[in-house]
């Protein structure tokens, strides 16, 4: 990569993101066309909205790639405050929108926005800013670790109330990964595991729904039509795709065997239509993204940029890992979308904003590469 001029964005990263975006739009169309045709008599419904968000997302990415990330640092606190307000607004009747008994959205005009996606961005910016200012104090428990754990706790409480446990897990994962990257003492991080383990067990036992998902994870066939259903259908989709897949558009599992195939289980549909080749391509693309992203972190001259890039990459990396682990029935079923690919406007829009920020940071790295 030597000879690349400064002020140029990381081209490999850009192409990777655009490739994932394109695959995402195509797969959302393929996966959703049947159910949206049956339900709304319009097989292009999801294609239209996902395509529109993709275009808006590209503009957002372009905008943020030109918007100096350093200015974002100054906006860290207002971003956190706004995100908290938005997360509370979810519960305000008339503004918050419920679906399937969960209040995760607010209405802005005709569009639904998921405040937690915005909050994720705010958390990363705030932590990157704060931790980069702390310098050596990051090794202190009370000053380096505790404030962020408290912030994470507030976010998690608000998000669990929606309820959206999967999102809360991502918040916690991002917080800990960023603290780890920023150089916090390992003992200060590991100490949190002691109450988290029994608390987690308590929540699982209390919440029958979660428990069912755990048991069905252990043996998805034990309850064929019950809680193991999604896990089984995902395995059948992936397995029947084999090495080469049934061909784009030829999924049969999308015919209501996998509910809402354009959402959290879209990876299974990719596996069915594009086979092992398709699924590994997706994974390789994400690995490329992670490598380029962390390379930017490593080469970024200032601590804020480095930690901001790290936070963004971790956000993507953790979500992808969890989503694919669920689709391959490697962990219990939990609702996490696949970045760039699963349908969903807010998620895509903020992913693209994050990528814009990452590209902007990449402009600032030393010209002679790593």
């Amino acid at each position: 990569m030597s000879g690349r001029k400064a002020n140029n964005v990381d081209f490999t990263l850009l192409i990777t993101v655009l490739t994932l975006l394109a695959i995402g739009v195509a797969m959302v169309f393929s996966a959703s066309s049947i159910s949206s045709f049956i339900r709304d008599n319009d097989k292009y419904q999801y294609l239209k909205s996902q395509g529109a968000f993709a275009i808006i997302g590209i503009f957002a990415m372009w905008f943020f790639s030109r918007f100096s990330y350093k200015k974002l640092g100054n906006l860290a606190l207002p971003l956190v405050i706004i995100s908290m307000i938005l997360l509370v607004l979810v519960f305000v009747p008339g503004i918050g929108v419920g679906s399937h008994g969960a209040y995760r959205w607010i209405k802005i005009g005709p569009q639904r926005i998921q405040p937690s996606e915005f909050a994720k961005f705010a958390l990363v910016v705030f932590m990157a800013k704060g931790l980069s200012n702390k310098k050596e104090k990051v090794r202190s428990f009370t000053q380096g670790v505790l404030p962020y754990i408290i912030l994470m706790g507030i976010y998690c409480v608000l998000i669990i109330l929606e309820p959206n446990k999967s999102m809360a897990i991502i918040f916690a994962a991002i917080t800990f990964t960023l603290l780890f990257a920023a150089g916090a003492k390992m003992s200060h991080l590991l100490v949190w595991l002691t109450p988290i383990i029994p608390a987690g067990i308590f929540i699982l036992i209390k919440d029958k729904y979660s428990l069912l998902r755990i048991t069905s994870y252990m043996d998805p066939w034990s309850d064929h039509l019950g809680s193991g259903y999604q896990a089984i259908q995902s395995l059948l989709a992936l397995g029947s795709g084999g090495i080469f897949g049934l061909g784009l558009g030829n999924s049969r599992q999308k015919f209501f065997y996998i509910p809402e195939p354009q959402n959290d289980f879209i990876f299974a549909i990719i596996g069915e239509e594009l086979g092992f080749i398709g699924t590994t391509t997706i994974i390789v693309l994400f690995m490329l993204l992670i490598w380029r992203g962390l390379r930017i972190s490593l080469s970024c001259p200032d601590m804020f940029g480095s930690l901001l890039a790290t936070g963004i990459v971790c956000m993507v990396a953790i979500q992808v890992a969890l989503n694919i682990a669920v689709a391959t029935v490697s962990i219990p079923t939990t609702g996490i979308s696949l970045p760039f690919i699963s349908s969903g406007g807010s998620s895509l829009l903020f992913m693209m904003i994050n990528m814009g920020v990452l590209l902007n940071i990449s402009k600032n790295i030393k010209a002679n590469g790593s």
Partner: protein
């Protein structure tokens, strides 16, 4: 570089390595799912997507030997519901229960099940389907199928059998020829989505059903009618437990008719039999099933009995074949013989037959004559022939559940057993075995395998397969057969079988009356009366066996009650087969005698009865042991009062001594 910065760099590399490790692990998972276990998952997915719909084949028609339809497949429908498409489950359930006569709650449950399709009822006729169609309910479907239908209910029930609701043969020819009649069902293989709708663009695979072949029986519908009619009359008149008749062509083993009463309606074979109607509702389902199982038994092949005197035909034939007896040989009947320290009585021990020739012995059915023949033959030779005639093993008639009968092993045959077997006791046979064996004696000595099916034909009438007559073995010589035919002709013309006599036809035959064996002992008052005859005696075309199980009247001798039934079936059949009667001069004269009406003489004293019979211009004969010194009471008479008979006909009287 600050120490923090160095830590951050190290940690970022750890993070990168950590993420890559997780991602590689996920690729490993995918190798496992998409490559190693792919076929297993693909198969499970395939099972989930595809549904196999069976397209029923049309069951073949069963014809009589002349092409009359005895069993056909009428169009019927399978009514099913696809719950996903039902708009108003209550209305659908109500309509279905109303038209099909089903329980509404049960139907509603079915309508609400979460399945792609639920069968509500099979074999629904088109009229009911029309009613349902008119209601224009969403979610109902009517699949074409067929229902077995027997145009003449109860007709040849035991030969035809019946089929279950899935059109599988359960009894009779429907069962034994099931594989030819069913054909091959077709299949539609299609893919469906999780809501039970056909997947668009899924390549439907259609395998066309192959219709079943049509079966042509050896049974002649007309002769079957004769047999059914006369069997029913005999069953009613004699108040018998059951009456069975088999009509066979002795030359090739073709079953021309096989009838039994009581029988069942093969269109509704689970219907309560008439004789059980009164307490049907109070019976348990097991009791009902037992009754039905017994009513579905075909006495002609499923049940065994002691043949009694009809078996003397076999003894005679073996004796003549082995040269131990000639027709003119002299015998003496003293009423009983001592064998192995046991006194064996002649049936007419009260009035012994005295000196007689062998032919006369057969005519009078005199037991000591046959005991003597059996003795001369010896157990070994006699039993070898008994087995050669097919006793003790199945005839292989293509009807289900054939009984092999019981023949003692030669080692178990002592002098007493040898003697009793020679007059038909201590051996158990099926009616089909006996008629097949005697057919061999009538046809020149060839034991034929009895057959009920002639051929299989396709829908265009082309013969697909022909069931050839099969000779099992030559049992006796043609000469012995010739001799036997003339001896048996005289039994009908002058002996105990004279009630089977038909003017103008030469009929050969033999009577039989045996006490029923129940729990290995002879049951008092329970008899099986039978008569076996063939005609014309010189060139047999038809052989008929009639077995009357437990006649309820006072007259139970085979010669009296079974012989006339054979005579009636034979006379109808011979005329139908266009075998012209040839009257002797004497017969022609008798034919011209005026007809008289038989008077009512039951419950009269024997003396009064005889006077009455003489006044009517009739003759009489008295059955049973009669003490002429006492006045006796007439219990029963044959023919019944009111019958039109020729002048000079003999009226048989059953009497009972009046208690002093």
């Amino acid at each position: 570089m600050s120490s923090v910065k160095r830590t951050v760099k190290k940690r970022l590399i750890v993070l990168l390595a950590g993420f890559f490790a997780v991602y590689f692990a996920l690729v490993g998972r995918l190798v496992f799912i998409q490559i190693i276990n792919s076929s297993e998952y693909r198969q499970k997915a395939m099972e989930q997507w595809t549904k196999d719909t069976v397209v029923k084949s049309r069951r073949g028609i069963i014809y009589d030997r002349n092409g009359k339809e005895l069993a056909i497949s009428a169009t019927a429908y399978e009514v099913s519901v696809s719950p996903a498409n039902v708009k108003d489950p209550e209305a659908v359930a109500q309509a279905l229960s109303e038209v099909l006569g089903l329980d509404e709650q049960a139907v509603l449950e079915k309508v609400k099940t979460k399945k792609a399709s639920v069968t509500i009822m099979k074999n629904v006729d088109s009229e009911k389907v029309k009613l349902l169609r008119e209601k224009e309910l969403k979610g109902l479907s009517f699949a074409d199928g067929s229902k077995r239908f027997y145009p003449q209910a109860n007709f040849a029930a035991f030969v035809l059998g019946f089929t279950n609701i899935d059109n599988e043969g359960l009894n009779g020819a429907e069962l034994t020829y099931n594989k030819y009649l069913t054909g091959y069902p077709g299949r539609i293989i299609n893919m469906y989505d999780a809501h039970g709708k056909e997947l668009p663009g899924s390549d439907t695979k259609y395998y066309e059903p192959k219709d079943g072949l049509n079966l042509v029986l050896t049974v002649d519908e007309v002769i079957q009618h004769f047999a059914e009619k006369h069997v029913e009359n005999a069953w009613v008149e004699n108040k018998a437990k059951s009456v069975t008749a088999i009509v066979m062509d002795p030359n090739n083993g073709d079953i021309l008719a096989m009838a039994s009463k009581p029988d069942y309606d093969n269109n509704d074979y689970k219907k309560a039999p008439e004789q059980y109607l009164g307490n049907w509702d109070s019976m348990s389902s097991k009791e009902r099933q037992d009754v039905l199982n017994s009513i579905w038994r075909n006495p002609a092949v499923n049940d065994t009995y002691e043949p009694g005197s009809t078996f003397k035909i076999i003894t005679s034939a073996v004796g003549i074949e082995e040269g131990v007896v000639k027709p003119e040989d002299k015998f003496y009947c003293a009423g009983s013989v001592m064998i192995g320290g046991k006194r064996l009585k002649c049936w007419r021990s009260h009035n012994p037959h005295g000196s007689q020739t062998f032919v006369e012995g057969v005519m009078s059915s005199c037991n000591p004559v046959f005991i003597a023949v059996g003795e001369k033959l010896g157990a070994e030779k006699f039993y070898k022939y008994i087995r050669a005639f097919g006793f003790g093993e199945k005839t292989n008639i293509m009807l289900p559940g054939e009984a092999p009968g019981i023949v003692r092993g030669v080692g178990a045959v002592g002098p007493v057993e040898l003697a009793t077997t020679s007059f038909g006791q201590g051996i158990s046979v099926t009616p089909i075995q006996l008629i097949t064996a005697v057919a061999a004696i009538a046809n020149g000595g060839k034991l034929m395998e009895p057959r009920i099916a002639k051929k299989l034909i396709d829908n265009e009438g082309n013969t697909v397969y022909e069931f050839e007559p099969r000779m099992v073995r030559q049992v006796i010589s043609k000469e012995t057969s010739d001799t036997m035919r003339s001896i048996l002709e005289s039994v009908v013309a002058f002996g105990t079988g004279n009630k089977a006599y038909i003017p103008g036809y030469k009929i050969a035959g033999k009577t039989g009356t045996a006490q029923k064996v129940e729990n290995k002992v002879y049951a008092a008052g329970k008899y099986i009366s039978s008569f076996l005859g063939f005609a014309p005696a010189n060139d047999p075309k038809v052989i008929v066996l009639v077995v009357i199980d437990e006649p309820g009247g006072a007259i139970y001798y085979g010669g009296q009650i079974a012989a006339p039934v054979v005579g009636n079936i034979m006379s109808d059949t011979l005329r139908y087969l266009d075998i012209k009667p040839q009257y002797t001069e004497e017969e022609a004269k008798l034919m011209q005698r005026p007809a008289v009406v038989v008077p009512e003489i039951r419950n009269m004293s024997l003396k009064d009865a005889i006077i009455k019979i003489h006044e009517a211009g009739l003759k009489y004969s008295v059955e049973g042991e009669v003490d002429y010194t006492n006045s006796s009471l007439v219990l029963d008479q044959i023919p019944k009062s009111g019958s039109n008979v020729n002048e000079g006909t003999t009226v048989i009287l059953a009497v009972k001594p009046v208690e002093q």
